[in-house]
Amino acid sequence: MEAALLYLAGALVMGLGATGAAIGIGILGGKFLEGGARQPELIPMLRTQFFIVMGLVDAIPMIGVGIGMYIMFVVAAG
């Protein structure tokens, strides 16, 4: 029972983080497409800015993935 709850906790941490990242990266990609279509000469600049902002967006989900995997592989298994 306890192990099942731990697996559930890990899955929730990863899943909710992934939902937030999906929304954020989707909006980011849409804005990139819009900006690049309006001003194609800015695409190289937008690409590097996209890279930096994508790092900000996916930071929390990545931490969530790490903690979720720690719960599943180490805490629940041990």
């Binding site: 990266i25 990609g29 990139f32 497409l33 819009e34 690049g36 279509a37 309006r38 001003q39 194609p40 000469e41 800015l42 695409i43 190289p44 600049m45 690409r47 590097t48 800015q49 996209f50 890279f51 930096i52 902002v53 994508m54 790092g55 900000l56 996916d58 930071a59 990545m62 931490i63 993935v65 790490g66 903690i67 995997m69 720690y70 592989f73 180490v74």
Partner: protein, 153 residues
């Protein structure tokens, strides 16, 4: 002598435009240098913090901190290489596809590395590992603000 504007059309979104890349030079190089500088600082910090933790707390927290830094750095170095050496710079759809592809690979690589560390390396000190991993993320947030990036002003 007005500004040349580009209409938002499906053709532009699909095949890009033949406009000369006026802003490609200095701004992009400066941003690429910023990314390289952030990554270099992160590599140096990972190594120095791991060494300091190893000396102060022992071998297990030390290598856990190093592993936390490497789990962050390896996917990010891969993605930075993909983004900074991309070829299709005039086609917005192709560029976005490449960016998404590199992001998916980065996420997959991070998960594989976490899984590998948690299954193969024993014992692991979680506070050191996640401490350095989170510190690297915080540096990535703080660096554009410190560098006074245009889009954050």
């Amino acid at each position: 002598m007005g500004l040349r504007t580009v209409k938002f059309t499906a053709r532009n979104a699909r095949v890009g435009s033949n406009l000369k890349p006026q802003f490609r030079g200095k701004t992009t190089r400066r941003q690429a240098r910023l990314i390289q500088r952030i990554l270099a600082v992160q590599v140096l910090l990972t190594l120095s913090i791991s060494a300091a933790i190893a000396v102060l707390k022992g071998a297990v927290p030390g290598y856990s901190a190093l592993l936390g830094g490497l789990i962050y750095l390896l996917p990010n170095l891969y993605q930075a290489k993909q983004v900074l050496t991309a070829r299709h710079s005039d086609n917005v759809r192709q560029t976005l596809r490449d960016l998404y592809k590199s992001e998916i690979w980065k996420m997959a690589l991070t998960m594989v590395l976490f899984g590998t560390v948690f299954t193969l390396v024993e014992p692991v000190e979680p506070f050191s590992l996640f401490g350095v991993f989170i510190l690297m993320q915080v540096i990535a947030w703080a660096a554009p603000v410190i560098q006074n990036q245009q889009f954050l002003r």
